[in-house]
């Protein structure tokens, strides 16, 4: 693996060399390396590009890394990854995609991930998206995540778009059964003329299921962001969506959080706020010795942390 590839892996999956535990590294549409363990199997799909990740019931303290890197300009990669997490397993899954595009052609990765968490299973899913390269070609990432949570299953999802992605449409769909819980934390930064659209569609079908979606984004320069969420409470359940955006320069941010209570015992909240950095925040940090620029960076870094 060359330096560019290693740097991409470091950015998206925080790994220097091969990770511990099970992993599958995909590079320019092909398998670069893979490791399976006694409890975690990774199988190449036969009918379409992608893999099945199978975690045995009761697997604890294990991790799976499945990063994707694209270094070939003009490459369009479509992949279907399915995760089957056995009953009462508790694992960490690190995904993410990094694009290094030095060409004038578009590089694109569309990752479609479907999670099936059995009863009582628990996962922390981390995905980071990052683009770089001096080429004029677009760097496009369109992740789609489908989440199916059985009774008392629990999923925590951290979705981060670090920088350098020209255009993204990020869709997340969740179907939740009795007692299941889903916590989604999203962080997005757009600059230049980048575009980012996020869609969350959650069905709280099971009694006492709960979802918490927290999205924070910063839109700079001429970039455009759109946040759409629809949480449907179909039974006694709890849903909370909060969407905060800092807008700078000539950026544009649209926030459209929707909640739909289809049952008298559904308790749903949404909060949305868009605004520039408050002048008094800058002033306060300047009284502590930071320059205006340093204060701005500090506020943005904290906000997206």
């Amino acid at each position: 693996m060359n330096k560019i590839e290693k740097d991409l892996l470091k950015q998206i999956a925080d790994i220097e060399e091969v990770p511990m535990g099970a992993y599958n590294i995909r590079e320019n549409g092909k398998l670069a390396s893979r490791n399976t363990t006694a409890n975690i199997d990774i199988i190449t799909k036969k009918d379409k590009p992608g893999i099945d990740i199978i975690v045995k019931p009761n697997t604890k303290n294990a991790s799976v890394h499945i990063p994707v890197i694209l270094t070939q300009g003009g490459f369009n990669d479509l992949v279907y990854n399915d995760f089957y997490i056995g009953e009462n397993a508790d694992v960490v899954i690190v995904a993410g995609c990094g694009i290094h595009n030095t060409s004038c052609e578009t590089s694109e990765h569309d990752g479609i991930h479907e999670f099936h968490l059995a009863k009582g299973a628990k996962i922390k899913y981390i995905e980071k998206h990052y683009g770089e390269g001096e080429g004029t070609g677009d760097r496009i990432l369109n992740p789609k995540t489908i989440i199916n949570l059985e009774e008392n299953a629990c999923m925590e999802m951290e979705s981060v778009q670090i920088k350098g992605v020209t255009s993204t449409i990020r869709e997340t769909f969740a179907n939740m059964k009795k007692g299941s819980s889903l916590v989604i934390s999203e962080r997005i930064m757009t600059t230049g003329k980048q575009k980012a659209k996020t869609i969350f569609d959650v069905n709280l079908d099971g009694e006492d299921s709960s979802v918490h979606v927290a999205s924070r984004s910063v839109a700079e320069d001429e970039s455009v962001q759109e946040f759409i969420s629809n949480v449907k409470g179909n039974t006694k359940c709890f849903g909370h969506v909060e969407c905060d955006a800092i807008i700078m320069g000539n950026a544009k941010v649209i926030s459209d959080p929707k909640i739909e209570a289809n049952n008298v015992d559904a308790s749903l909240i949404h909060e949305a706020a868009i605004g520039k950095i408050a002048g008094e925040q800058l002033t306060k940090l300047m009284t502590l010795g930071l320059t205006e620029k340093e204060a701005e960076e500090q506020i943005i870094n904290g906000f997206l942390k």
Binding site: A278, L285, T287, L288, G289, L290, E292, I299, G302
Partner: protein
Amino acid sequence: MLELKDICFSKDNKNILKNINLKIDNNKMVVITGPNGSGKSTLAKIIMGIEKPNSGKIFFNGKDITNLSITDRAKLGIGFAFQQPVRFKGLTVKDLIEISAGNNIKVCDACDILADVGLCAQEYLNREVNNGLSGGELKRIEIAMLAAKKSKLTIFDEPEAGIDLWSFNNLISVFEKMHKDIKGSIVIISHQERILNIADEIILIANGKVEKHGKREEILPQIYGKVKPCHKLTNNSICNKGGHDNE
């Protein structure tokens, strides 16, 4: 240490400060008091550089700082605790204390500072300084930031506002400790008698002017000799003692 010469400031056609002249010496505890709307907070903002005077000069340790930015003044050694602290979504108490200390503070020292202002470090260090904190908690964090900054001149704008009675004595101790440890000057804008009682000097601002400035022993009897709570002082009234002052 600090000298203000003929400072005038007006806003919206209203003269807020009128020819302010005053000197604050090294290692002094100075309390600025006066009626609501008399210009105390504006004066503090002018010293910090948040507001610019229409005329007059400001000297800090002999250097003319009138045209210096907020950042430059902070780096020279001026600190300012806001009357209404700012909330930051994403920045934690630890972040702000580290920034205040110029990223040069051990976690255990940050914990000690939080303990001094009556906050349990374990509970607060990693908390975001956001809407989840009460006004009183924010106020204590604001004071902790200034304790961590260790400025040669620290100005507190009504630090007691929002602080409960139990914490009040601790607040006095924090000022005394800062004064002893940093050996700088502390300027506190306050209406509180107990804060006036710890001052070396008291400055009385009324109607945008320095009405009185002298040692506590001289000024305090003049204030309380003339003024009973909610009675007139010269042409202005000291009402709402201990209340908020949004000048």
